[in-house]
Symmetry: C2
Subunit: 235 residues, 2 copies
């Protein structure tokens, strides 16, 4: 049975890495002693080792050890044998390029579909959607495809940002960008604000955290849904 947490962000303002999620993660990964970490997205260009250390420090607080996938001789075997998987945030273009290069997209999809608990934050959440077309990241690397895991039947927009009142900047708002996405694509998009996450348990999908999320459906005005909403309607 699928068991997935899709979080908007790893870190909320004024709190440590993963801190706001640790209670939830202790339950989510209760059957795992060691969690396989995929550091490919390299936020700020940091090394796989440094990024893995950051994740390890956070998970140590709930008694879990972390192994970086880059330390494993076979990434595919590492995924198949993982007790839990965590894909961290950073740049989605870099992450997806590396997932394709190492042939691990399908193994991750298979493992998670078969019940390996998964956590994604930011870029690691983006890839749970049908495609990475609604990432906010800069396209600093050219991946072989924008197709991602499709663990949920919609697209994710993490770090969802409301229009800034009084802004004089002429760059597109997030809402305009997603509207442009729907000029060429018809799958729904969920704008997940920082501090929100989605849980997937089998076929049940639920919005969690204290905030509303913004839903963008093809040919429909965007609207808000409350936390604890059931997301089965979204497909």
């Amino acid at each position: 049975m699928k068991s997935i947490i899709i979080a908007s962000t790893s870190t909320i303002h004024g709190s440590g890495y993963l801190e706001y999620l640790l209670d939830e993660l202790a339950v989510h990964f209760k059957s795992a002693k060691e969690i396989l970490f995929i550091p490919y997205a390299r936020p700020g260009g940091i090394s796989h080792d440094d990024y893995t250390n950051t994740a390890a420090k956070a998970f140590a607080k709930i008694g879990k050890t972390i192994k970086g996938i880059h330390e494993c001789s076979s990434p595919e075997d590492a995924i198949e044998n993982a007790q839990g998987i965590f894909v961290g945030g950073g740049n989605t273009f870099v992450l997806v390029s590396q997932l394709y290069k190492n042939n691990v997209l399908l193994p991750i999809k298979t493992a998670v579909t078969n019940g390996t608990p998964y956590l994604g934050t930011s870029a690691g959440s983006n890839i749970c959607g049908l495609t990475m077309n609604t990432t906010n990241d800069m396209p600093i690397m050219y991946p072989p495809s924008f197709k991602t895991l499709g663990l949920v039947p919609f697209n994710i927009n993490p770090h969802y940002l409301d229009p800034i009142e009084g802004s004089t900047h002429m760059g597109e708002t997030r809402e305009t960008r997603i509207k442009e996405f729907h000029a060429y694509n018809n799958q729904p998009v969920i704008g997940l604000r920082e501090g929100s996450w989605i849980t997937v348990t089998g076929n049940k999908r639920t919005l969690k955290g204290t905030l509303q999320a913004r839903i963008f459906e093809y040919n429909k005005a965007p609207y808000e849904i409350e936390t604890n909403s059931d997301l089965e309607f979204l497909k």
Copy 2:
């Protein structure tokens, strides 16, 4: 001799479409009666016709007519015969996909290198750089390549945005994104603030407008340059 204007934005806050640039454009396009407009980037998903009308209204103020490339039976011939070319802003992924699909990237490069005056705003400026890897746009379409016109020997980041003081949002700042770009690429990037533009006249490249621009070079701390700076050092 190359004659190019690479503008950060078409519109500055509180002023009409292209208004702040019209005096400059009257000179830039002095030899052209009709300008070929490339509306492929479709800001907000608007139609090619509607977008072309917007451009036509602005250029009417300086006595120029506009023809949309989508109205021409052969886009390649239209470019070869153009008295001037304007590529408008919108979504860079859509723009570049359409430029490849219609086989017009090389014809534009040839025409502009041979002296056809060119104006780019936002996405239309982005493509003047070596690659589109430093666009701010959402990847709503998958182009065949991120390689662009290379009319200047660096990359452009239009709508450059300084970090917002006191922001609690955890998404990456523009500066962080460009730093991540330099983890995998080594060409310089110019962050062009809204209201700035670059002129290219033959081999002379100059920063114009009233603002400073921010320069990002590989393995170097970012720094500011003054308006009217010569950009020949940037390569």
